[in-house]
């Protein structure tokens, strides 16, 4: 197969499938409830004991207090990803906060929070600030 045909097939195939999936609603992010957030956290960290869960109003992130410290769970496409809040920077963002993890596999998360939510989340994320 010539390189030109290979390129057309690959680029066309990827673009076509991406368009089809997006137009049929497959880009929707997962919506979290407190119960779903707790279950998903334990799926990621089965050794943890969750004390309580705070879900953002937009439903795309949750803060969890665990016996080993706070953790953040967020929507990652149709699924979730979680990280313990151990090594990170919290930066103000027009839509809420941006968390920069010092982690190559999960570099950053933008939290969409209302004006009312922000002080509470800031206290939970950085209780000593």
């Amino acid at each position: 197969m010539s390189l030109e045909i290979l390129l057309i097939l690959v680029v066309g195939g990827i673009a076509g499938i991406a368009l089809l999936l997006h137009l049929t609603g497959q880009s929707a992010r997962r919506l979290l409830t407190p119960e779903a957030a707790r279950a998903d956290w334990l799926r990621h960290f089965p050794d943890d004991a969750v004390i309580d869960v705070t879900v953002a109003r937009d439903g795309h992130a949750a803060l969890l207090r665990t016996e080993t410290g706070p953790g953040l769970l967020w929507s990652f496409g149709a699924d979730t990803v979680g990280r313990h809040l151990l090594d990170f920077d919290l930066i103000d963002h027009p839509k809420g906060f941006r968390i920069i993890f010092h982690d190559f596999t999960a570099p950053q998360v933008t939290l969409h929070l209302t004006e009312e939510e922000r002080p509470h989340w800031k206290r939970l994320i950085s209780p000593h600030d």
Binding site: M1, L6, L9, V10, G13, I14, G16, I17, A18, L20, L21, H22, T24, Q26, S27, R43, H44, P46, D47, W74, F76, G77, A78, D79, V81, R83, F101, D103, F104, T105, A106, P107, V109
Partner: protein, 324 residues
């Protein structure tokens, strides 16, 4: 001895089939509302990883091929290209694949290349194409050396390897439940391979087969899919990025950071590169054996059931009981 022998690259020729099969699987799921799920960015990442893998093969393929041709110049044997020889090569190459794949899960250096294939939390036909860009750097071509030295031409070995990959494409689906019993007994199937992609403690490090599941049964690594435990796809520590560069290189970077930590002995540095994934010099991380052992502490009723039968589990149980 034949030097100039050429076979088509089956993986490249199969690309139109891959695209068509993905569209068929997606349509099936959309119509039936079962049999798997798709997500746009996840699928696009998988497809880009697949394209990158083909590109990587075009750019770096000469290294493996040069190594194979060097071996071919050494061997006095030439089995030719008759149909029985091609069939035998396909079977032996599948045995080669089993061991490469097993090393890929048990040696962190090789896992660094293979991890991206397991990095999706989805399991559909696009996941099959989430392939490595860095396979050349694992030196896995060494495992093919016996085939070349036995007299299988390098082009034939690569052709059989391509067919093996094409076979594995269709088993990355939830749309097919179980196949006839005789087929499930001999061949790798969607059910067997779903288990391989599981991050459940029960399903870690099993079902390494490419085409024939008999290798797992022979070498004690077979775990059947359990109706009582749905497969949870992805990595033990799932990644939070769709960026293909991060997907491709994250474990290599992690190895580099671990190996260059200050204050480690040479043995510990080597273990960070070549011990099973999850090794840590201070016990702060979990290998799959330790994850299984911890699971058994939480769920003792699972002891002795599929996925929790190995001698390694018994050994690791002791170490967990000491550390918990």
């Amino acid at each position: 001895m034949t030097d100039a022998l050429s076979f088509p690259d089956p993986t490249q020729l199969a690309i139109p089939f891959f695209v068509a099969a993905i569209l068929i699987e997606f349509t099936w799921i959309a119509l039936k509302h079962r049999g798997g799920r798709y997500e746009t960015r996840d699928a696009v990442t998988s497809l880009i990883m697949g394209a990158g893998s083909v590109a990587s093969g075009l750019v770096l393929g000469f290294i493996a091929y040069g190594f194979f041709m060097f071996l071919w110049s050494l061997t006095p044997l030439d089995l030719g290209t008759s149909l029985p020889v091609i069939a035998l090569c396909f079977v032996l190459d599948d045995l080669r694949y089993y061991w490469v794949h097993r090393f890929g899960h048990r040696i962190r250096w090789v896992w660094a290349s293979h991890v991206n294939h397991h990095s999706s939390q989805h399991y559909n036909l696009t996941t099959a194409l989430r392939q490595t860009w860095t396979g050349t750097f694992t030196f896995k071509m060494v495992v093919s050396a016996p085939l070349i030295l036995l007299g299988f031409h390098p082009a034939l070995v690569l052709f059989c390897g391509g067919l093996n990959l094409i076979y594995q494409f269709w088993i990355h689906t939830e749309a097919i439940d179980r196949l006839p019993r005789w087929f499930e007994a001999v061949m790798n199937t969607p059910s067997h391979h779903r288990v391989h992609h599981g991050r459940n403690a029960r399903y870690l490090d099993c079902n390494y087969a490419g085409v024939f599941i008999i290798w797992d049964k022979m070498f004690g690594t077979f775990v059947p899919e359990q109706a009582s435990e749905k497969v949870d796809y992805g990595l033990v520590h799932n990644i939070g990025t769709f960026n293909p560069l991060r997907v491709a290189f994250h474990e290599w970077l992690s190895i580099w950071r671990d190996v260059t930590r200050p204050g480690l002995s040479l043995q510990q540095r080597l273990a960070y590169a070549f011990a099973p994934p999850g090794y840590s010099h201070d016990g702060s991380r979990d290998t799959s054996d330790r994850i299984k052992a911890k699971h058994l502490v939480r769920h003792p009723e699972d002891r002795g059931t599929p996925g929790f039968k190995g001698a390694a589990d018994a050994g690791a149980r002791g170490s967990v009981q000491q550390t918990l």
